[in-house]
Symmetry: C2
Subunit: 198 residues, 2 copies
């Protein structure tokens, strides 16, 4: 059922640049496969995020804990997405994010070291990462826009429309955290607006 992670990552890259078989090989040799059981951590607060990680199967979330210990989910990463604590990754300093598996997850990690090697040896990867970063930036920008201009209900409706395939994997708590409300308010919201049948 599961597709080969290497095939998936090559398809992902192939959407942006064209590689020769040798280049593909060179690239995939720099990737380190990983497996994370449900709830296992890829990264914890205070650690340096050394890898740009491709999700081949499963699902991860990145979140932070505020000073009252409450968890705020920043992003979900479904298969075919990349995840990292970008701030820590580019500065090399310890970050504030946790990255955790939501269910069993297969990954391919590209370390900063290896990314540098890759970019030096095959410069067209610069283009590829520029495009990936542009998209991640646009998504992040849109999240800012939504949190400023939409109500909690609107954010929920948008989330459901945008990521229907994530819904079965997530608890209500996680969705609540992503859209920025408490579980208690989330529950009332579903009831009040009759949004229970996803």
């Amino acid at each position: 059922m599961q597709q080969d992670p290497i095939e998936l990552v090559l398809a992902n890259i192939g959407r942006h640049i064209t590689l020769t078989p040798e280049e593909s090989r060179y690239f995939t040799d720099l990737l380190k496969p990983g497996h994370y059981a449900r709830r296992a951590y890829l990264l914890r607060e205070g650690e340096v995020c050394a890898d740009f990680t491709f999700i081949a199967a499963g699902c991860m979330k990145s979140y932070l804990q505020d000073k009252n210990g409450k968890e705020h989910i920043l992003t979900f990463a479904a298969p075919d997405w990349w995840i990292a604590d970008i701030m820590s990754f580019i500065t090399g300093r310890p970050g504030n994010l946790f990255i955790q598996a939501i269910n069993d997850t297969q990954t391919l990690a590209l370390s900063r070291r290896n990314q540098e090697t890759l970019l030096r040896e095959i410069p067209k990867f610069e283009r590829c990462f520029r495009i990936l970063t542009e998209r991640a930036f646009a998504a992040s920008q849109q999240r800012n826009i939504d949190s400023m201009s939409l109500s909690a209900v609107e954010r929920l409706e948008k989330f459901r429309r945008q990521y229907p395939y994530l819904l079965p994997l997530l608890t209500d708590q996680e969705i609540a955290s992503y859209i920025g409300v408490t579980p208690a308010f989330f529950s009332r919201m579903l009831k009040k607006h009759d949004l229970k049948g996803r």
Copy 2:
């Protein structure tokens, strides 16, 4: 007093890649200088954002209007920064953002067309734009984090610490909009926490 815009943009780029004089020339020939008077628009909602714009002097803001007509400021761009409606710029579709001059502003615009030419002719610019985009992404991510985990007062204090040089240019309304509160609440907040002397 003012520095030459071309010098400034070359210094900006030079922080990430090294150019020969010919390459510098090729690059700067692709830039279109602009001047915007206070309150003039570089971009309006519904227009396609065709340019990646460098601010050489002055200051701009990008904002959106929500469906109640209220303005939410997404970013400020001071000298030595780039500004664009990234979503519209990368998709080529009409965007939702306004980009407006806060005071008299000198710009250098790199159109998407010219960017493509530049990247084709001098591939090391891929690297440069990857890095610029990574930073913009990290800043946007941080804004999401702050809006999720800080109170209005904390966001204000952080804003003042982070952008002291912007404060003299901005009205309280604009700062309020950026940190995500109304002018009325902003005023009360200053009083209550004795934050008036910037």
